[in-house]
Amino acid sequence: MIPGLGQAAPTATFSAPTITATVAVHELRPESEWRFEVAIGQKIEVRIMSGTAELFGTELALNHVYTFRGTKSSIYTWHGCRIEVTGSCEEYTAEETPMLQYANTHFALEKLRDEAHQRQGDGPRVMVVGPNNSGKTSLVKLLTAYAIRTGRQPMVINTDPREGLLSIPGTLTATPFASIIDVEQGWGSSPTSTSSPVPVKLPICYYYGLASPEDNTKLVKPILTRLALASTSRLAEDQIIKETGMIIDTPGIISQGKGGYDLISHIVAEFSINTILVLGSERLHIEMQKRFSAHRTSTGESITLVKLDKSGGCVDRDDTFMQQTQEAAIKEYFFGDSRSTLSPHTQQMGFEDVTIYKIREANALSFLPGGMEEEATGLYEKVEPNPGMLHCMLAVMYATTSDSQDTVRDASVMGFVYVSEVDDKKRRFKVLAPMNTRITDRPMIWGSWPEASMSVIG
């Protein structure tokens, strides 16, 4: 490069690899998997030119252009296919995958569902456990997608507060899936005021508000119980879902230690789990066998426990990536995705108008002297809006401001608001709300997860 020849030259050189829309065509052999990572802020377009292909179990349409942004994902083919990829991403093709095992798992579940149909009973309640980044969510998604394709309606339950499912992180949700899962955008979208190119799903949300279930087991357990209660009530009345059963995703952390196993037991009991899929970890498999071999569900069923291979495609998602996906989820909640723009509403409220509970991080508090007192103070601390709330999310609960803390805790979430401005002097603050509804008559919960994020607005 000749110095001084054109200012633009250096930038052009550096950015060239990412800017040029490279088009690549990949020929995939049958039963192979094309794995790709698209950096946050980047996108690629993928088109299946021939053959068949599926993304976490959802079949991709031929010649339809799918756009992927900031994601780590994979496309699998049973019959072989040819893929055209526009844009740059990290990618490779794997011939060895546990897909056969996973698909067979689905067929085994199908058999249980057929049996359930015949005796008008309950379909399998499946829990997927495994350490972080072992592919739990991907497996849950695959089993869900296969069930949908087979004409079922699985109830998908997320107990991992680290990642939201059709909601923001920090929530625990249950969602019946009756229609195709969005392939471009996580699990799809919860309802908006308009239509979505992929049918929306209707989750019920409970707010935990902390990153790890072990941060406050006194809080997470009753919430899980409540989630189980709602789900089982739905199943009791909804025959199709009942036959199909539940598929439950769990936080990796509870598969990694003693306290966690306790939470696994809690989930097993509350959801009457009768099938546990252990991903990857031999040790966890043994521990689960010890714990549940003699266990009987409330209806006297024994638990089927099976270990599945971890996919070689599982990648570690570092904290930065997790934080970025978290922010993306919040943004999407208010502003929609690349396909449809949502317009949130700014509301201004006085400090006196609102009831806000801050979650106590009980396990941290327990190091303080006087643990008895902590018990008495309850799960939440009532707080006034304060500058510390800036850029935080508040969960608006389906409860009234006069309700007890337990009632508020057990309530489901109506929605979230984002604190965009706190004016201590005027004692007013501004929030971004999904729509223009009065929320001052509802209690709000302020948790530490998702973390405060500047980037949501602007």
Partner: protein, 666 residues
Amino acid sequence: MSYGQGPDDIAEDFKSALQDLSINSRFEISNLTIIAKENTEHAFAIAESLKLHIKQTPPQKKLPAFYVLDSIVKNVGTPYTLFFGRQLYATFMEAYALVDTSVRRKMDEMLKTWKEPVPGSMDPRPVFPPELTRPIENALIKAKTSFVQAHQEHLKNQQQQLNRVRSTASPATYRDTPTPPNAYRPPPPNVAPGYAPNYPPQQPYPPPMNGQQYSNQPNGQQPYGLPPRPPSQQYPPQVAAGPPSWQQPPSQGYQVAENSIARLNSDIDKLITTSKAEWAQNPYDNSIGTRLKALLDLQTILQNQQLPPDQIALIKDQVDQLSQASQAANKPQLPSTPVYPPVPVVVAQPPAQQPSLSSILGPSALAALARASATPQPVASMQAATQIRSPQPPYAQPYQPPPPSAPTATSAPEASSLLDRLRAAGMLPAVSTPTTTSTSSSSVPVPPVFPPPYLNTPPTASRTPLATLSNDVVLKPASLKERRPHLISGLYERLGAPCTQCGRRFQADEEGKKKKTAHMDWHFKVHQRMAEAEVRGQHRSWYVDELDWIKSREVEDESGNATTIANNSSAATTTANDPKLQYLAVPDDPALANSLCPICQEKFEMKWLDEAQEFVWMDAKKVGDRIYHASCYAEATKDVNTQIKRGTPEPAGVLGKRKAEASHSF
């Protein structure tokens, strides 16, 4: 108007001067403008006075009053712009609903000038800021589409009454129609001044000082029979109004002189001619009407848009097929669902076909105006078309283990499949929801909230192919490692051929085909609704609460957002068995729009139903030709085992339903 001492007097003077203003008089308008200019300190009072005048004055005096407003904002500007801007939407729309077509056209033109800078001014800003004018425009776009459809309906009824269909009707043919006068005879675009005494004619408003020409006729809003403007000048609502523009003779206005397009165009042209002839022979054959309408729409699309070559190629294929088909067998079968209001053959006669907006004058006009957003909009479809990123290939796909059934849907080149595909590609407006085929009410279809019944059937049927597969998998490591290609095929070819948009598979049997048709319609409607919503603004909904969530049911087919929500709100539980009509779309028909419940003699409560995306009458039920309060009717027919209960009809959103829920017990 109480702004102190002076203002009252000024406003009073101004008001009395306004009272005298009954025609479009340049002198009076400039006089009033000067008064306004010299009394800017009383601008508020003057503005209020004028606004009030516009509101109260009879329809025929509204336009001159608007011209005063226009003149003031253009020649004086602030602070008037500010004061008028405050209720511009209401001021404009209220008047618009009351005046007749020719005045509306003037108002459209005036609105257009508001979006531009004041002529000759250094200030590049528009007369009124876009955030004020845009809502008006949007509302007009919606209203027009609605009216055009209502009008077609109306015309059709008339034709049936006359029991005569002419393949070429002269404008005069319609002079004696019963719809309000004038409406059918809009002044020919270049009519001489003085055409109608009460209405300002085309030329005579040379605005006092601004030099802006309202009468500058070609301002987009007059495509009837004239060659269209170059796109830059095209007035958006006009494009949006769609139907009027397809009335343009095909040869005109077609500007892209590309060979293939030209040929395509002429092919379509021929097909249209053929169809018209057929139509003339079988005026009651809806299928011909449908096809004709589709062709005309297609023509419009080709004329108004630059389609990407691949889409053009697709259309061409279809048209070729269709031409052959129409030569071979000219009785295309309609799919069960789409029933377009047949298009009168006279469409070729632009002047006669000015949609009679005033056929729905009076109180119902506003309702219909508002309701309009529910009607399919060509503009949306056009946008939707542009949103589609890849060409929509025919169903037959290069697919390696292909089910031979895949191409069945396409093998017979008939109009309906063309429609389906164009619709699927987002190039044609969707037909109204197919649940009712009664022609008299096709403009008031069952709200799209409820899916066609067969969508509600449990999906067991779609699993049947799997039931026959031997499935011996158990959750044991060894069993899970076995290869079972036949089971995998149960996820692919055994499920039928995939949807080209989303990959979902459908059986080739009768039920599968039905589902697929509904599914393609759904895809189309979503494109359309999204395009509309883009304009309107949209937001995330609140999550549902426990009780509703537990009570909600997923319908088997993804019939879209609306379906899911509505079914998930209380409506689902109370009306699931009788999903027909807890509410009705507000009728377009002016006679019906004012109707009272025959039982209680009260009016119906109109409200905007977000899910249905239209204005509806709550608690309304149509029995035969009459509309009752659902609750009154239930009361009256109590012993006849009806399931409708008073208080249930609030299928509205996630929040609204709490009340409804409380009013009946589960």
